[in-house]
């Protein structure tokens, strides 16, 4: 498992945990859109965080589930993974 979360992995998690299908290239263009507008509610984001924690075997900071946009989320998560590596 790569230490960094890619936009592809986030798109896959969004589908698995929240049932929202967005192609990675489209997600890249909506980097600063709110998760809400992508159809991801707070429980959906919580599910994405839980799945990431299980895959990478490391806890994410509480702020992860409060991120508003994909950019904020990936920045926070990848910084956390980098620090732990």
């Amino acid at each position: 498992m790569s230490a960094q979360i890619t936009v592809e992995e986030l798109a896959e998690l969004m589908k698995k945990a929240a049932g929202v299908t967005v192609a990675p290239q489209d997600l890249q263009q909506q980097y600063d859109s709110a998760f809400d507008s992508l159809g991801i509610d707070s429980l959906g984001l919580l599910g994405i965080v839980g799945e990431l924690e299980n895959r990478h075997g490391t806890p994410m900071p509480p702020d992860a589930e409060r991120c508003k946009t994909p950019r904020q989320f990936l920045d926070l998560v990848n910084n956390t993974l980098m620090a732990g590596a």
Partner: protein, 414 residues
Amino acid sequence: MNAPHVRRAGVTGIGVVAPNGTSTDAFWKATQEGMSVLDRVTREGCEHLPLRVAGEVRSFDPSAAVEERFLVQTDRFTHFAMAAADLALADARLGQADADSAPFSLGVVTAAGSGGGEFGQRELQRLWGKGSRFVGPYQSIAWFYAASTGQISIRRGFKGPCSVVAADEAGGLDALAHAARAVGRGTDAIVAGSTEAPLAPYSVVCQLGYEELSTVEDPARAYRPFTDGACGFVPAEGGAMLVVEEENRARERGVQVRATIAGHAATFTGASRWELSREGLAQAIRGALDEAGCAPEEIDVVFADALGVPEADRAEALAIADALGTHGRRVPVTAPKTGTGRGYCAAPVLDTAAAVLAMEHGLIPPTPNVFDICHDLDLVTVRARPAELRTALVLSRGLMGSNSALVLRHSAIE
């Protein structure tokens, strides 16, 4: 009753997802033909359990009916509910624009007896198999009785009164009455009804404790109320949602009121105390007639609870006679659910849908698989019976002791 300030609630839309049809037309066709779809249980993980026969909804594709993001966070019982609500709203010609322009004028009421057993089992298996970190967050909402009400209101943007009746079978009628009261208090329309999905391994095992459950292997003999062969009831999944709407408002929209919800009453006589349900059900019938301002002789058809347990069948036949007097022996009685099974709270809602359709078509659907009645009832069997039907009485009793009666009046064609 006809004073302009009285707000009356009528049925303006019907949406059915049932074992014998996943549209209202298919359901009515199978129901009036007296077709039985009871069959061996084939749901995954249930095949080896002692429950052999049930009413499964086999021709329903959730992904064709509901968006994936709602499917991942909900159980099968809510999939049925969202699909049935869509069908009912389309039938009533209530579109998304109606909700968007007046979201507080629309609400949701459902009844639920078993909740989201399949979803809950999957997540609990993750809990004990892998640990709490592997339980998805939607477990917190998916398996609760209120899930269908909540998801319908979120998905369709309804912000009016929303509630759930967590109950036994009779709760299906109580939910319709609750919706009618909400309309009476000022809400334009309520999507109301019940769908259930009790055919998952965990849910089936829970039901095995019911002494009223039929474990007979032969689908043609497993559920035969009011006969000497009565051996309990067969469970079912699916159900129906109705649009319960203020009648003047419906007429202003140019939509026909298909039946008025005229009266309802409920009583409680204790779990599995079927002998006592005679008095409880009779009292519920009297209360419903009273509220409807309806004489016993005006009842043109009775949709029976028809549990299929000899003691309970006897109590129901006697309750009908107690409440309707000599008319109780003459009035046609039917129990189409012997062809589909009892879907817990959904069962009396399907009966209500069938009652509205029966009044519209002037046709009393028969009671499949039932012959040789051993009670003093005019039970309609074998084939549908033509009749002019202006008023219908729907009865329901629950395994936990509730008794409920609902009076429906056919609205004159305008």
